[in-house]
Symmetry: C2
Subunit: 151 residues, 2 copies
């Protein structure tokens, strides 16, 4: 789909705050509310916008510990590993990447002992390297550059 500067602005605004009304979005891009609604509808239909989600503060719900776990999966255990990862509630994200560590997980847990349990299950199928997340200075879903627009 064709993304011009206006749609890019709409995407950035909606990524930051999905509760903006069409009228408010219209003021941002100098368009009428129905015109904005039509653009947003097209972005949704074409799969550019795949949904809307609440942003949750995990610390505030009693899940203060997040870690990145690099997993070098044993050659014969790939299938089993994938199934395990998909079944684990604590796994927040899983990236399959190039390089010796084929999988990078982000996990979120209530306590260190639960992290320990989790790692023991992963260690059966892979060599792991765990990095505790101390802080997250940046966490967006989209690069910011307006120059990235295809036009």
């Amino acid at each position: 789909m064709e993304i011009d500067r206006t749609s890019w602005k709409l995407l950035k605004a909606l990524e930051e705050n999905a509760r903006l009304t069409y009228a408010e979005l219209g003021k941002l891009v100098h368009l009428s509310a129905p015109a904005v609604a039509e653009r947003v509808r097209k972005l949704e239909e074409s799969g550019v916008i795949t949904g809307y989600g609440a942003k949750i503060n995990l610390e505030k719900v009693g899940i203060p510990i997040t870690a990145l776990v690099e997993c070098q999966v044993y050659r014969t255990k790939e299938r089993e590993f994938k199934a395990l990862v998909l079944s684990l509630d604590e796994v927040v994200s899983c990236h399959n990447v190039t390089g010796p560590y084929a999988f990078i997980l982000k996990v979120a847990v209530r306590s260190m002992s639960l992290l320990d349990e989790l790692l023991e299950r992963l260690i059966d199928l892979s060599d792991t390297n765990t990095m505790m997340i101390l802080s997250t200075p940046v966490d967006r879903k989209m690069p910011l550059g307006i120059d990235q627009v295809t036009e």
Copy 2:
């Protein structure tokens, strides 16, 4: 804040789809729409829900390449590195972690040549290890377990 099973269900539902109406949420948890609205309002006020955002498909907007970059920052360049990372549009997330690679970035770019440019800037301030993301089997914001509830 106190999160019971009902609020946990609301959080999971809203994380997946923030456009659910209070009436629909109410059916999920067997509560009336205003009762749900009141719970959600409290979750927002207490900072459990920090906002609502559109989910964007980066491939569809012409940004098909994402990578994880581990950065072992030179001791004297930490401040400079942080400033650089905050200034880079292509950086989608930045985690400060334990271990020799103090920072793990996720970057999203339009082309390999832009990734190359980006890495060159990072390399001035750190030793980097880049892993291209091939696929992302899991990408949530919240662990799924209802058992994680504090009650």
